[in-house]
Each structure stands twice: as C-alpha cells, then as structure tokens.
Amino acid sequence: MHTFSHRHFISAYQLSREDMLLTFRHATEYLDFLHSSDRKKDDLSGVSVVLAFFENSTRTRVSFEIAAKRLGAEVTSFQSAASSVSKGETLLDTILNIEAMKVDILIMRHLYSGAHEFLATRHGYPNGRVMGSIINAGDGQHEHPTQGLLDAFTIYQKFGAAGNGFYSDGLKGLKYCLVGDIRHSRVARSNIPLFKALGAEVAVCGPGTLMPPDLDALGVRLFNHIDEAVEWADALNVLRIQHERMEQGLIPTLREYISCFGVKRKHLQHKPQLAILHPGPINRGIELESDVADAAQSLILSQVERGVAVRMALLKLIAENRTRK
C-alpha cells in the first residue's frame, strides 16, 4: 500500500504517479460521500486549518473551506489584499504569528511565485521555523497544484480506469491541450507536470506573446491555432484571458484572439467527444463561446464539484502524514 509522505503540498512536481492515484482513490470516496445525505466526517477532527488568502479568490477559498469543514477541521479564514505588507510586516512575520497560534495546516494563496517554498525552506536563515503543513492554493504565476489535481481527477474520472476505462493505465495516451495564456498561468504550470506524470501527452495553444520563453523546459508541444489543437486533442483546458493582457499589448484585439484561439460551437460539432475544461472564472464569448461552456462536453461544473473531493482527499492525506510523524 502506497503511503503519502509529503508534509507540504506546494508543487505538482512533488507528486509521484502513485501519490496522484492514491489521492484520486480517496477523492472518489469523498465524492460519493458528498452525494450522500451524511454531510460531515471526522477525519480532521481537532485539526486547526487556516486559510490565508493574500489575493482575491472565491472558488478556491470556498472549495477549501467546505472541504476542511466537511472533514471536521477547525477552520479560520482570512483574506487580505496585500496582507500586512502595507503595514510594513513581512510575509514571514505574518505567517510566524499565525504559526504561533498552533496551526496545523496553512492553506495559502499569494500573489508572488515561490512564496510557499520560501516559507517552507527558509533558506539558510537562523531564526524561526514554519512548523505546520503548507498547502499551495496558488502562488503568483508559478503553480496552483490543487487545481491541477482536480483537473486531472475530472479527466481521470471521465476517461481513465475510474470512468469509461478508455485509458486503463493512468491517463496514458490521452491528448491534452491547454489553451490561452500559458505564460502567466499557474494553472498551466501545475497541469503540465501532473498530466505528464499520469502518462498524457500535453500540448499548449496560444499566441507567441502568451507562451513561456522555453516550452521545451515544460516538455510540451505547441499549436498555433485552435483548429489544430481541436483536431489533435481529446480534452482542452481553456484558460481565462485577463483584460490586463490587452493593456500590456500582448494581444492586439480580442476579435483576433477569439478568431485564432477561441473555442467555438463548430469545434464541438466537428469533434463531439472532445472534453472541455476551464479553471474559471469564465469569460463567456471570449476564450469560449457561451454555448460551449454550457454544452454536454463541458466539464466545468464537474471540475468544481470534484475540487471539493480532491481537496478533502489531500487534507486527509496530509493530516494523516502529520500524525504518523
């Protein structure tokens, strides 16, 4: 029996294929439980969980909060635009203060890449030490690993051994394409290693200005037009286009973006078995036509539903690992 041995969950690269499948196994059970009339478990009874969100979030924060509460944890949550940084307190000091209140699991979202790893490792400095477990709910443009896990779980349930069994060995052979702003996307940076570890082939599709400088480093192939991506892929994960990218001059016009990279009704007509994911929030009419979001092929709401189950599984595994130690 495989054991989950991670104290923190900061990056998708931490997880082995076995870790993922174990998480999915628990998530499957929790998903059944969420559909039952019994609404509360005690797996995390007595465990103190703090949600520290230094950046706006609705979906992820609510999802984590529900997951932790359903497991019986004591949950405290705060959202702070720029944290106390505006008051001159460093992130480390803020977190050390929270730690001093004897928190077991800290679920944090932060606007800067690497904030979680910085807290977890404390490079070479002598004073203080972060004692609890840290779960990454999104760090800058680096990673959003629980989003990656829930995306993978959603696809795994649909296509993998747990679903139609089309891909009986993880997601080996699945063709998966992320569409849109890869360069600035933490969702993409977590999706890529997770899907690859499960055996999927991963591609990206979007304008050159929204691609990371080195695609080889991420081990993905590139499509320059949505039609090509649709032709190739079994599933698309369509990312949100931020209006900021227009202001930065990275996209000339939305009209041109939609024409080259928007997912349209015609794509689903052309390929009815294509699965559509989107991490939300969606811009209807931009990265996907409204009809696409609501189509039978769209797994958007099932992603959200599975998000709670996956986060429950992860919290349970991390809490168990803490007691084991």
């Binding site: 910085f118 940076r189 400088p213 080195d214």
Partner: protein, 427 residues
C-alpha cells in the same frame, strides 16, 4: 607592522621570482626581497611561507560600500574590512549611495573615510545627476576630486542621446565610462534570467538580449564618438562576450569585467527561490558560464570584479519577487577564482594576477604595484592550495547575503598588506 616571509614565491608581472624567496616588510616598506635569508629584528613576525605566494595587492573595481546613506547594510569601515579579509588592498565603489556620487563633496567624504584603511577606496562617479539619466553630472569636477571612472550603475543610461553626450563631454579628459548594461524596457518586473528555469518557476525573466542590446549600442556609440574608452560592468552573457571580443578585434578601447558568481553559478541556483541567488544581472545558463570562461582565457575579459552588494536580512528574507538584488563578494572572490578558474585548469595563477590586480588598476590608470626593495608594500599573500569552507559567520561585512555558504574552495588569502598595515585574513 614588521613581517618576514621565509621561502615565499613572488608572482607579479615585473617582479616575478618563481623560487623560494625571503621577503621582509618593515614599517610598510619592502626591506628585503631575495633568495638569501637575512637576520630579522625582534619585533618582526617570521612566517614560514613555503605554501604561500605573494601577489601585487588585489583590486576590486566594482563594489557597493553603501556609505553614505545605507549604513545599515555596510559602511566604508566594514566594507574595507571585508575587502582586506578577502585579500583586497584596493576597491572602487559604485555611485548608488544616498546621495549618489554625482557631486564633489560625496567623493571627498568617501575618499576621506577610506584614507586610513588598509584597503584603498576609490570612487566611480555618476554619469548623470542622481543617476536619473536626465542631465549630465559634473564629471570633470568629480574627476578632479578623484573619481576614476563614471557609471550610473544599476540604472543603465537608457537614452542613447544622453550616453552619446557623456562620451562627447568626457572626451577631452579621455575619461572612462562604464555601464550596467540593461535595456529596462525588456526587463520590467524581472526576477531572474529568462529561460528554462524561469518558465517552470513562473518568474518574470530578464532576457540576455536586454544586456546585449546595450553592450552593442554603447560599443557603437563609443566608436562613433571617436573610439572612446568604455568598460562593460559585470558582463553576464555569451552574446556580450562576443560583442566585446569583436570590438577589441576592431581596435576599440573596450574593456569588461565579470563577477565570480557569473562564472561559477547558473540560474539553476534559483530553482528553489533562494533569494541569495538573486542579483542583477541575474545568474545565466551553463552556455553563458562557458562563454565567460572562454573570454577569461582568451583575454576578452579584462577583470574579475565582485559587485559586492550587501543587503540586510529583512531585504533578502522575502518572497523572491520582492527581495533585493545582489550578494556579498569580497571574501569569496579569490577562493572562487582559484577554484573555478586556476585549479579547474582554465588559467594560470599569473593570468589570475592580471584579472584581479594588474588589469583593474591599469583600466583605472592607477600606478603599477612593484614588489621590490624600497617599494611601499601593497600585496596579497595567498595559499594557493589551501582548502577551506565558506562560512558566512566569519564575514567582516555587515551583511550575510551569500549563495556560497558551505562551498569548499581551494586557494585562500592569508594576508593583505598595504599602507603600513597588515591584515590576517580569516574568511
């Protein structure tokens, strides 16, 4: 300060004695320097120096001593102590002080503070007022007060017209302009080198081309303005090495320096968001490191400079994006250069002396150091084969920001001697 080295070797361009020599320094002056032994007096320390080599005093032409203005990071006293501890008998400090070195009183202040220290302190004046790139600083006045070169270090002179004017203005004095080469339009919000590692870490990258477009532009401007003297600060990319090499081949008076961290580390050191690996220019790739070493070997690179940049813990112990750029350099420079250049088989110890002592002084037009009877002793005694482990707890700097903690190095400074003072290096 009276010290006698028995069986030392002397390695200095005009004075090399590559056999066992007795070297007696008394009251700061070289009294004896020959193979034969002499009887010393009672107040002379005698050092068995069979494993040691005497070099002309090391010179670091690119340091940040932080005074005036940011004395919480470093002062001229602590900075020169760190310099002596690393074997340096001379440094040239960059103008990003507060106020910046764009006025004569600040030059005077710094030179005065460094008047009695073992390590000599020289100034690099600003090219423009407040290093803002808008109006020329009074470079002639700065020159007259002792500034040895000019740079807006850290704030590259972006406007080519301003840089052209600077070349033209300083031409009658044949002054040296130096540049921190960074096209800011290409580096906004950067945190590290742009490439494979930044793609995975989700950090905004600083592309190599942002350095190279300025190196190329300035080389062209320097040529256009009548083959002006130009020095590239802390060059970090393969493309920049090629640009400088080509300019030298054309006969341009272009020189450049590299830092130890740019020939020892790559952007892999940033992989875990270690802010002690954050600096500007950022750590590059293996291909850049190899090109820099090639440039060091073939003479394209003139000098090793540290870009010694102390920062307080609270400025480094932060999210990577927010952490200050820069690392300590003075106490690890010789050890890193010995280990990664000399012992790695890339260059000879004689070439290292050029890079770390002779060339920086020549570029800055300081007098040649002689190691001969009758000269004032200005020298660095090193143990080229001594292994040691970098321990930042021993630093004489006020700050501790180094990515080299725990590195095992081969080659260590033992004494710095200058201005009648002796420093026993313990780094």
């Amino acid at each position: 300060m009276n010290i006698y080295f028995r069986n030392i070797r002397i390695l200095s361009p005009s004075d090399t004695i590559d056999s066992q020599t007795s070297l007696w320094i008394r009251n700061g002056e070289i009294l004896h320097c020959a193979p034969n032994e002499v009887q010393t007096d009672a107040d002379t320390i005698v050092v068995e120096a069979k494993e040691m080599v005497c070099l002309p005093g090391l010179f670091d032409m690119h340091v940040h001593l932080r005074e005036p203005g940011q004395e919480y990071k470093e002062t001229i006293e602590t900075g020169t102590n760190a310099a002596a501890n690393g074997g340096f008998t001379g440094v040239c400090c960059m103008p990003n002080t507060i106020p910046s070195i764009d006025n004569a009183p600040t030059v005077e202040y710094i030179m005065n503070r460094g008047k009695t220290t073992l390590t000599e302190v020289y100034c690099c004046g600003a090219i423009t007022k407040d290093r803002a790139g808008k109006e020329l600083a009074p470079m002639v006045e700065l020159l007259e007060h002792g500034a040895l070169m000019f740079s807006d270090d850290g704030a590259c002179v972006s406007n080519p017209e301003m840089m052209r004017r600077a070349f033209e203005y300083i031409a009658p004095y044949d002054g040296l302009l130096s540049q921190h080469c960074e096209e800011h339009a290409l580096t906004e919000g950067f945190a590290m080198n742009e490439g494979a590692v930044s793609s995975v870490l989700g950090l905004r990258g600083y592309p190599t081309v942002a350095e190279e477009v300025i190196v190329a532009r300035d080389i062209m401007l320097a040529a256009y303005c009548g083959n002006r003297r130009y020095h590239v600060s802390h060059l970090s990319t393969k493309g920049s090495v090629e640009l400088v090499r080509a300019a030298k081949q054309r006969g341009q008076r272009v020189t450049c320096e590299v830092t130890p961290h740019h020939f020892v580390l790559t952007d892999e050191a940033v992989r875990h968001y270690d802010t002690n690996a954050k600096m500007n220019p950022p750590l590059r790739t293996q291909a850049d490191v190899e090109a820099i070493i090639e440039g060091i070997k073939d003479g394209t690179v003139d000098a090793i400079a540290t870009d010694h940049a102390p920062h307080a813990v609270h400025e480094k112990e932060l999210e990577f994006q927010l952490a200050a750029n820069g690392i300590l350099g003075l106490e690890t420079s010789l050890g890193l250069a010995m280990t990664y250049l000399v012992h790695a088989g890339h260059i000879s110890l004689a070439r290292l002396v050029e890079l770390m002592s002779v060339n920086p002084r020549t570029i800055l037009r300081l007098p040649e150091i002689r190691i001969q009877v009758g000269s004032q002793a200005n020298c660095t005694i090193i143990a080229p084969n001594k292994e040691w482990t970098v321990d930042v707890k021993k630093t004489r700097s006020k700050s501790v920001n180094t990515p080299f903690q725990g590195f095992v190095l081969k080659g260590k400074p033992i004494y710095a001697i200058n201005r009648g003072k002796l420093w026993h290096c313990d780094c």
